[in-house]
């Protein structure tokens, strides 16, 4: 377990999240892709904190902010899904292509 291996695992998680968020059609699955990206970012933050930052507490505070971002993304994402579903009966990205150029 070194900094490089931890960051490689984080890169793999972020890559899978990018793939999932771009390939999925339903809003909730897209949100899961974004969550997986934040997951990788948390792991990378913890790795850098543990190996390259000398364990300064500010590094952990940054990771806590990333976790708060994830909670906010979930809550607002679900609220948007509810609002879109109520007005358009759509749960897929293709269902709201009205403004598509």
């Amino acid at each position: 377990m070194t900094l490089v291996t931890v960051l490689l695992v984080a890169a793999a998680l972020i890559g899978i999240g990018v793939w999932g968020a771009l390939a999925q059609q339903t809003f909730v699955m897209i949100m899961m892709g974004i969550e997986l990206m934040v997951n990788g970012a948390i792991l990378a933050g913890a790795g850098v904190w543990a190996y390259a930052a000398g364990g300064v507490p500010e590094g952990q505070v940054l990771v806590i902010v990333a976790m708060a971002v994830m909670a906010v993304e979930m809550a607002i994402g679900f609220a948007l899904v509810v609002a879109v579903y109520r007005t358009r009966q759509a749960d897929m990205t293709e269902g709201i292509s009205t403004l598509k150029g």
Binding site: V6, A23, M32, L36, A46, V72, T87, T98
Partner: protein, 203 residues
Amino acid sequence: MTSAAFAVFSAAAIWTGWRVFRTDSMVRASFLLLASFLNVGALCVLLLAEYLGTALLFMMTVEMVVMALFMVMFMMNPAGLNPMNMVHQPRFAIGAGVVATLGLGGVAVAGAFPDAPAAPIPATIRALGSELLGDSMLVFETAGVTLVATMVCAVMLSSARGRYGDDDGGSVAPPLEPDGDHRPEDDLVDDGGGHGHMHHGGH
């Protein structure tokens, strides 16, 4: 011992993260994402970030159970009873994922990071506690206020009726004549029942 645990946890985190987007069942997908998060939490504990790992574990368990509830309420095929294709632009997405992985992995391999390992656990937890309630108090309080604002926004977005009328008022076409009825066929709201849910927009 630590390297074996690291190998197991990281392989499990990546594998479950990949399976999230390969399963037909959305409930299974949310629990696979939970498994990925729990493995990253275990990795955080291995990295001496014990508080972060435990917080991630508790937070993600609740969050993914909420997500599974939403899947059952809203989405098609929540239990994966009939296989279906839920993806679009698959080639571009795979390419973007590979490019992201290779780019970030290249940074991890080629980057020159300082070598300053963290101290053992009691010191780091004590330091985090005094940081959160001392110098980083403002950051922590800001996160709390942000979460409260999120709750208010979520309730506003998801409520059917606000103080200025129905939430789909902007999607209803106005009448052609004053005091006339609006023409339902012009509505963007697809309340014609039945067919609106699954059809793929193809204008």
